[in-house]
């Protein structure tokens, strides 16, 4: 295989390094996709830009940590239980606070969810400080595989594949099932959907629970890779919001594809021009906003 163009920068050099960065990009892309997907689902139904998303992602990781260390409940159960537990916490938030935002300007939802994020993160920081707590990779996913062209840590491969499956399943649920048709219709005209006999307020609560559950799932997946830290979500969510702006809020598939694509672009940038790897997403965001203010797949607000 010939390589055209001269790679620059310190990370450049071998194909091995390129593949390694691609894998890191895919992993980050998995988290971007899961998180921006949840944001898109919540925005569609509740018309709220959920700034608490990063804090709920962090809670997912912490719930997995508590389950393991206090209850002896392993990773596999945590994948199921943490999204449910954090999802229920989210539904309580929706029932007690967010539901009163109906009909108000976006700014109120933004301020409220941002406030919730600060409180939740503050509480965790108070008890756990800022350093990371370890969470071990489950035995079944330890080790790696030599693919010939690169060494693949099994856990990382699992994260990419599993995230992709969850994203596609969510897409299928929303775009191809009767429940999804209710959801899409209620996004357009909740009053009429309710007048057909569907309990729309309950559906809104469950939708928030679904979006929050996806964030918590991403938190569990990330625990063995990035450790469990109170501010793990705060750092990530800024990039995720840029991803959402680039992809547009309107489309489910759009947020999945944009999430993975931007992870990969970030990874490639780390290889070819590492100095820009932390800013490339934001540069892209500005470019997209200049060309298409509604985002690549978004509908007009």
């Amino acid at each position: 295989m010939t390589f055209r163009g001269t790679p620059k920068g310190p990370g450049a050099g071998s194909m091995q390094a390129l593949y390694a960065q691609l894998l890191v990009g895919l992993i980050n892309g998995s988290f971007y996709a899961l998180l921006s997907l949840g944001l898109a689902v919540i925005f569609g139904m509740l018309n709220i830009i959920n700034f608490a998303h990063g804090a709920l992602y962090m809670m997912g990781a912490f719930v997995a940590y508590f389950l393991l260390n206090l209850g002896g409940i392993n990773y596999w159960w945590a994948l199921l239980l943490a999204p449910i537990i954090v999802g229920i916490f989210g539904m309580i938030l929706e029932r007690t606070m967010l539901k009163f935002l109906t009909g108000l300007d976006h700014l109120y939802g933004l301020l409220l969810t941002f406030g919730i994020a600060l409180i939740v993160q503050g509480v965790f920081q108070n008890y756990f400080g800022s350093s990371g707590l370890p969470y071990a990779i489950p035995d079944q996913l330890k080790g790696g595989m030599n693919l010939g062209f690169m060494f693949l840590p099994i856990y990382r491969g699992w994260v990419v594949v599993f995230s992709l499956v969850v994203c596609l399943a969510t897409w299928f649920l929303i775009e191809k099932t009767q429940l999804g048709a209710y959801l899409r219709a209620a996004t357009e005209n909740p009053t009429l959907v309710r007048a057909f006999g569907i309990n729309v307020p309950r559906m809104i609560t469950l939708t928030y629970g679904l979006g929050v559950g996806l964030a918590a799932l991403a938190g569990v997946l990330s625990a063995p890779i990035n450790q469990v830290r109170p501010l793990m979500g705060a750092d990530l969510i800024i990039v995720v919001f840029a991803v959402v702006v680039i992809g547009g809020m309107g489309s489910i598939m759009g947020s999945i594809i944009t999430g993975f694509a931007l992870g990969v672009i970030e990874g490639l940038t780390k290889y070819f021009y590492p100095e820009a790897s932390n800013t490339v997403v934001f540069v892209l965001m500005v470019l997209v906003l200049l060309v298409k203010p509604t985002g690549l797949t978004g509908r007009a607000a």
Binding site: Q178, A181, Y182, R184, A185, T187, E188, N189, T191, L192, V193, R194, A195, F196, G197, I198, N199, V200
Partner: protein, 248 residues
């Protein structure tokens, strides 16, 4: 009152019994007081038409019955059950179906999904074959995006989707508005057929020439009140009055 009594009642009652009783219905959009005491009745198996000028309060009356106006007072009884304080999803589940003036076809759903959207609230709805029999155009367009249909097709879809649900009381808000004469005729046939099937229909119309082909009785709405009412056989005798009411 227990729901079961309603649920077990035959979907299509025999002509005669009172199905809807509206008494002193008032309604508000925010601060503006729109309905000032509406009174009328609909009997099982009838087609009743609300006539009135633009802005008289016809749509608001239907929406108030459906429970989708924020503030409403007075009494609305459906099958003798008070529904004035019920939420619209509960009202729909009692067997009232609503076809809005703006049609409300969902653009993110294809025709099939639009058609299948309203949940079945009780047995006795029209089977799909019968619906396609009434609206053959829809069958050919099942995979199109809902809002890619023509205005007439969208109106047919808006009516078709509420026939599946088993609701026996249909409220149709100006189904002929903006449509070509052939399509108006087709909708007229449909309403006549539905009446024969035993549906009870509350129709809002500005076009009383069309209404006269299907309606049993009329009420005239003006400034949020019912100011007159008569049966189809009295229509000819009331023509002059009607022209004054409607300003046509």
């Amino acid at each position: 009152m227990p729901d079961t009594a309603i649920a077990e009642a035959p979907a299509k009652a025999a002509t005669g019994g009172n199905i809807l009783q509206v008494r002193n219905l008032e309604a508000w959009y925010g601060e503006s007081h729109i309905l000032h005491g509406i009174n009328f009745d609909v009997n099982a198996g009838e087609v009743v038409t609300l006539l009135g000028r633009n802005g008289a309060g016809k749509t608001t009356t239907l929406k108030s019955i459906m429970g989708i106006i924020g503030k409403r007072t007075g009494s609305v009884k459906f099958n003798n059950q008070e529904i004035i304080r019920a939420t619209s999803d509960k009202i729909a589940r009692m067997g009232i179906a609503f076809c809005p003036e703006e049609r409300g076809i969902f653009s993110s759903l294809d025709v099939r999904e639009n058609l299948m959207l309203p949940p079945v609230v009780r047995a006795g709805g029209l089977p799909l074959e019968q619906i396609f029999d009434l609206f053959p155009n829809l069958k050919e367009r099942l995979n199109s995006q809902g809002t890619k249909l023509s205005g007439g097709e969208q109106q047919m879809l808006a009516i078709a989707r509420i026939l599946r649900t088993g609701a026996s009381f249909l409220m149709l808000d100006e189904p002929t508005e903006g449509l070509a004469p052939v399509i108006i005729q087709q909708i007229g046939h449909t309403i006549a057929r539905l009446k024969k099937e035993g549906f009870t229909i509350l129709l809002v119309e500005q076009n009383f020439r069309f209404a006269s082909t299907v309606a049993d009785r009329y009420y005239v709405v003006e400034h949020g009140k019912i100011i007159d009412g008569f049966s189809n056989s009295e229509l000819a005798a009331n023509m002059d009055k009607l022209h004054t009411y409607l300003g046509v």
